[in-house]
Symmetry: C2
Subunit: 234 residues, 2 copies
């Protein structure tokens, strides 16, 4: 069967792709499980565009059937260092819920994925949330993902008509080192991904924020060379 033929008969999944390490790995895992993947990136008013550029590269390299970017203006409600220029991105580890938490971000992104999943007749939505490295974010916990799956079944034609729609968060209990090891096994090119909260225009990482620190420690723990492009490095 041709590659197109295989895709046409495969169950569909919407995969949230931010351009970071976790979502690139999640896309690879969804493909490994046989899904025809529809990549969705949400432009929620990020400070920099490097993340969306990385998302396009990740979707393309990861074999997505289609990639869409939906814009929603979360910056308008403020409340996060990631969308509000008045709040500084911290460079030291924080306790509790960090200021980089974007209010309702995962709920908004999953809702948009749900709408597209319904139109596509998709059987699953994949999201790269991780409860271990980001334990301060309430919407990265297993009980949150389970609650969204319950909601999704009640909210949709697919649910009402008895067809399943599952929310898959394969990384949720993995360490960053496990994510990196699994992604490497599946051929993910992490040099194309951007995790940094304040990457420059070209996607080079600052090396100092929480996201950079967690990522660097992940490569170290996995025993895999860190391919990240750091600003000012060669």
């Amino acid at each position: 069967m041709s590659d197109d033929g295989l895709r046409a008969s495969a169950p569909r999944a919407v995969v949230l792709v931010s351009g970071g390490l976790d979502s690139a790995t999640t896309l690879a895992l969804a493909r490994e499980r046989g899904f025809a993947c529809y990549a969705l990136s949400v432009d929620y008013g990020q400070r920099h565009r490097a993340e969306l550029d990385a998302a396009r590269r990740v979707a393309s390299a990861g074999g997505a059937v289609e990639h869409r970017v939906m814009r929603v203006d979360l910056a308008g409600i403020g409340g996060s260092a990631l969308t509000d220029a008045a709040i500084a991105v911290p460079t030291t580890p924080s306790s509790g819920i960090p200021v980089t938490y974007v209010p309702a971000r995962n709920t908004v992104m999953l809702s948009l994925a749900l709408g597209w999943a319904e139109v596509l007749g998709a059987a699953a939505i994949f999201v790269g949330v991780n409860a271990i490295d980001y334990s301060g974010y309430p919407d990265c916990r297993p009980e949150y993902v389970a609650a969204f799956e319950t909601l999704a079944r009640l909210a949709t034609k697919a649910g009402v008509e008895g067809r399943g729609l599952s929310i898959e968060a394969p990384l949720i209990a993995w360490s960053k080192a496990t994510v990196i090891a699994e992604g490497t096994r599946l051929g993910v090119n992490y040099r194309e991904t951007v995790s940094c909260y304040q990457a420059d225009e070209a996607g080079a990482a600052c090396g100092g924020c929480d996201a950079c620190r967690i990522r660097r420690e992940g490569f170290l723990a996995a025993g895999i060379a860190d391919p990240t492009r750091y600003a000012g490095a060669g």
Copy 2:
């Protein structure tokens, strides 16, 4: 105490205001219950702008502290007669889930409300969903609203920190006649609201679509004169 002083001490609520009859009534009920109301309208790529113009009038007349319009491009995913020009709006009653159903619309709107509620420290989100007149929409049922409340508590700082956040759907079990009778008691001016799926630029209703039919029958059943501006009428 001044009106400003009362507002400052009142608990806050985000109220989803579409510009229709139900959301105007919901706003009036939230105000009656003592909330300082923050009106949120979501521009999800509607075919006409009359609905958003009506939302501005409703928010203002209903005493909202602030009114915001957030744009999200649900038209990009298609699948509904309300956002997809290729699907006709029906003029006869339909059975099952109607083609005017917008995939995940209430989930997306409630998610945006949740983000703003979190930033505001709001105690409640009010939404004018109604299970009686729109029984074909899966995301207008009580079990859907309850599932979103569960999700909201798991998704947010407020929930994690033990402060409550409730999802209020006061109209959910009311007939359209009851909605109209209650709103009339609270002084809602229904002439300013637009329910029609295909209102003209000036907000005049077609008189023929499902939404117009349900609205007209509601005024009739409530024994209240229908103030709706119909296209072609005086």
